[in-house]
Amino acid sequence: MTRMQTQSQSQSQAPLPAQDGHVTADGRQIGGVMMEMKNITLRFGGVVAIKDISFDIRQGEIRAIIGPNGAGKSSMLNVISGFYHPQEGEVWFKGYRRGPMKPYEVARLGIARTFQNIALFDGMSVLDNIMTGRLNRMKSGFLAQALWWGPAEREENLNREAVEKIIDFLEIQNIRKTPVGRLPYGLKKRVELARALAAEPQLLLLDEPMAGMNVEEKEDMSRFILDVNDEFGTTIALIEHDMGVVMDLSDRVVVMDYGRKIGDGTPDEVRSNQDVIDAYLGVAHD
């Protein structure tokens, strides 16, 4: 089981010291460890959702978490985003141990996410939804807002400019004033990504960004994810079921099954891991 637990990067020949950076084949800069999960165990009553899992996420990489249904992937993402608090283990972010934090405090550290079942604010327009991503950057006081005094309006317009850049980037200009409730599924997913990006996160968590999409939509979404990583240098951790997509997109992959980690490494390494093959294809019992 520990056979594939390697610290090395896909393009490097030898294992690297943890803090060293390197450059991938396609020219992206991968830095040191940004986030580290140490021996995480999460239980709900008697059910163990995550059992003693450790892995890290490096600056600038695209890290995938895969596994069969019920493997604990979403729970893992929820631990990272501070929604669940593990009973055991430590979460380290940028060199500091993170205590038990409220989800909104985690968001303020620069961690943004999307959701498996879209969690947009249905009563608001696309523009307002994306603007909510920048709430933590808006500092004008209560009185200034109440009177729409200089600073409040200036701040609103500055943030609007930033949001418009993301709207352009994700090619959703024509729907910016539409209430999100009216949008089709694929566009909702894109708006949700826009909202997460609007926060200009250092770490972006994507929970099944391509679930329920057709091939064309998946290609679009893959392109956006790669562009985000490439242009903004955003570190990305994602959960995805589509193996082809995962193997193409990600630099390193964690494989989970029944709450345990059964593999960790580059897509090529994971693909040839016997435990992973067993978990996905089943294993003959005799």
Partner: protein
């Protein structure tokens, strides 16, 4: 020692009030479980039932005021009185008809709306029914008498005086009300647990779509639970109407079922029963010990504040399951 007996008497009275709260709360729980509707109109249903019962019993002409105003007539009475049992049966019929109309005119058109919209619709319904009751039967305070015994029970006073040297003052009406309510509560629980309709009802409560797919008629279940709620309201209306007259405040007393539900959890039948007893005893004891210090009439708010404070510490209520939030 007297203080202790006073308190014991207060507790006994509180328990009896509590059973009535439990009964009305059960009406809420049944509707909430079967249709997801939080029925604010439950209290007004009780008022409406009591008004209708008095009206039928005394042979009032429905809508007399309206007819008189519109046509210049001066109608008031048919000139007959209806025996109590028959009047109760007729009123029960009216409540079933009302349940049918509510399903047909209101609920059917609100299927799939958010729960809070349904809740507000029942507030509108409460206003409508209050107005309808007044227009049909007049808004004056009425006395209701269906032949239930009333007055302080001499037997209990005598017996307790002999045993403890302290005579308990307990109204015979309260004893009867408690007995009837207890029987009804037991019957409802048995109905929900052991009959075919009860099982269908619980199935609907769990999942509308799944219940439909195994051939349960949603409309039938809804009419049924609203009829039951109407019947429960009728019983509560009779008890409270006999005690303190049929008037608007009756619908507010029935609203006490709301804090009962908060305490017990909206979907729990045992919760409704235990919650009712706790609130009944709690508010009587509070009024007894603390009331005199703060000017009395604490029953107006005690139940709500108790439920509020309780929920802050245990949001799922007494018997609710721990809520695990998901994203």
């Amino acid at each position: 020692m007297d203080q202790f007996f006073f308190a014991a008497e207060v507790v006994a009275n509180g328990l009896m009030t509590g059973v009535m709260y439990s009964l009305v709360a059960l009406g809420f729980v049944l509707i909430f479980k079967a249709s997801g509707v939080f029925n604010y109109a439950q209290g007004v249903l009780a008022l409406f039932a009591a008004l209708t019962l008095v009206g039928i019993q005394q042979g009032q002409i429905p809508f007399a005021d309206l007819i008189n105003a519109a046509f210049g007539t001066s109608l008031h009475q048919f000139g007959w009185t209806v025996p109590a049992v028959l009047a109760i049966a007729l009123t029960a019929g009216v409540m079933v008809l009302l349940a049918f109309l509510i399903e047909k005119l209101v609920l059917q058109h609100l299927v799939g709306q958010e729960p809070i919209i349904l809740f507000m619709a029942t507030i509108g319904l409460a206003y409508f029914l209050e107005g309808l009751g007044d227009v049909m039967w007049g808004a004056d305070i009425k006395t209701l008498d269906v032949g239930l015994p009333q007055g302080i029970s001499d037997a209990i006073e005598g017996a307790t005086a002999e045993w403890f040297g302290y005579g308990f003052f307990i109204d015979r009406l309260d004893i009867w009300a408690t007995l009837i309510a207890a029987i009804l509560v037991a019957a409802l629980v048995a109905f929900a647990q052991y009959t075919k309709q009860g099982r269908a009802m619980r199935a609907v409560a769990d999942d509308h779509q799944a219940a439909l797919s195994v051939g349960i008629s949603l409309r039938f279940i809804w009419v049924m639970v609203w009829s039951i709620a109407g019947f429960v309201a009728l019983v509560a209306g009779i008890m409270w109407g006999t005690k303190s007259g049929v008037q608007f405040s009756l619908s507010l007393i029935a609203l006490k079922a709301l804090p009962v539900l908060m305490l017990g959890g909206f979907t729990s039948i045992p919760g409704a029963i235990v919650g009712g007893l706790i609130i009944g005893v709690g508010e009587k004891l509070f009024e007894f010990f603390i009331g005199p210090m703060v000017g009395g009439a604490t029953e107006n708010w005690f139940a709500y504040v108790l439920a509020l404070v309780f929920l802050v510490f245990r949001p799922q209520g007494l018997f609710g399951e721990r809520i695990i939030e998901r994203v």
